[in-house]
């Protein structure tokens, strides 16, 4: 399953809830304010790094750019994609769950 998260983990618990439900082999795509969850060195970074053992992480490039987050500040191993990549993920996984 593909999970999308559009809230900052520093503001809401959407990402945390998502990671409690996401099973091994699923994917998490960080969009909109959710991209703050992809940043290195925040109080939530270790939560994401731990989850990366079982779950693939992706983040939307234009949403990072809109917030002035340089790609060098993204946690290593999180794949940076564009909207076409988002479409590919939605096609690849049989269901998409949006954590709002």
């Amino acid at each position: 399953m593909l999970h999308t998260v559009n809230k900052s983990p520093l503001e809401r618990n959407a990402l945390e809830s998502c990671l409690k439900h996401a099973v091994k082999g699923s994917a998490v795509l960080l969009i909109e304010d959710g991209v703050y969850g992809a940043m290195k060195g925040t109080v939530k970074s270790s939560m994401v790094e731990d989850a990366m053992k079982d779950i693939s992480f992706y983040v939307i490039r234009p949403d990072l750019k809109a917030r002035g987050i340089d790609e060098s500040r993204v946690i290593d191993g999180i794949e940076i994609i564009d909207y076409h990549g988002f479409v590919d993920l939605a096609a690849k996984y049989d269901k998409t769950q949006s954590w709002l």
């Binding site: 559009n6 969009i31 909109e32 304010d33 234009p62 949403d63 564009d82 909207y83 076409h84 988002f86 479409v87 590919d88 939605a90 096609a91 269901k95 998409t96 949006s98 709002l100």
Partner: protein
């Protein structure tokens, strides 16, 4: 692949209307079919033609209408959500005794069954909201 989209957030609120548009556009560019885009809750505000953003801002409503025209998209506003928020087509305006309608080109008003049908008929249903 056949996609349907659910938009439950109004334009100029956070970013759901923009992300839904960008996703739809990307899916069409990749050759996928968009079976339907259903606007629910505050999402129905994406379908009023009276929207007048500043000239240097994106016009989210017109952008939907133009995409619908270019790709023959089915843009559906939930009737109950639209009634609550003052969005009407000519029939709805007449039926409810209103003096005007305001639905944007390319949109139509219908019931929640259209969302269920989209979920059944499409390979994927993707939700954008707040």
């Amino acid at each position: 692949m056949k996609f349907s989209i659910l938009v439950s957030e109004g334009p100029y609120t956070h970013e759901a209307a923009d992300t839904a548009y960008n996703f739809t556009k990307a899916a069409l560019e990749k050759g996928h079919e968009i079976y339907r885009i259903f606007f629910y809750h505050d999402g129905v505000n994406n379908g009023t033609r009276l929207t007048t953003p500043p000239q240097d801002d994106r016009n989210i409503v017109n952008r939907w209408s133009e995409l619908a025209q270019a790709h023959e998209l089915d843009l559906v506003l939930c009737v109950a959500a639209a009634q609550r928020r003052g969005i009407a087509d000519a029939d709805e305006a007449k039926r409810n005794g209103k003096d005007a309608d305001n639905i944007a080109p390319g949109f139509r008003i219908s019931g929640l069954g259209q969302l269920i049908e989209a979920g059944i008929e499409s390979d994927r249903l993707i939700t954008f909201g707040d």
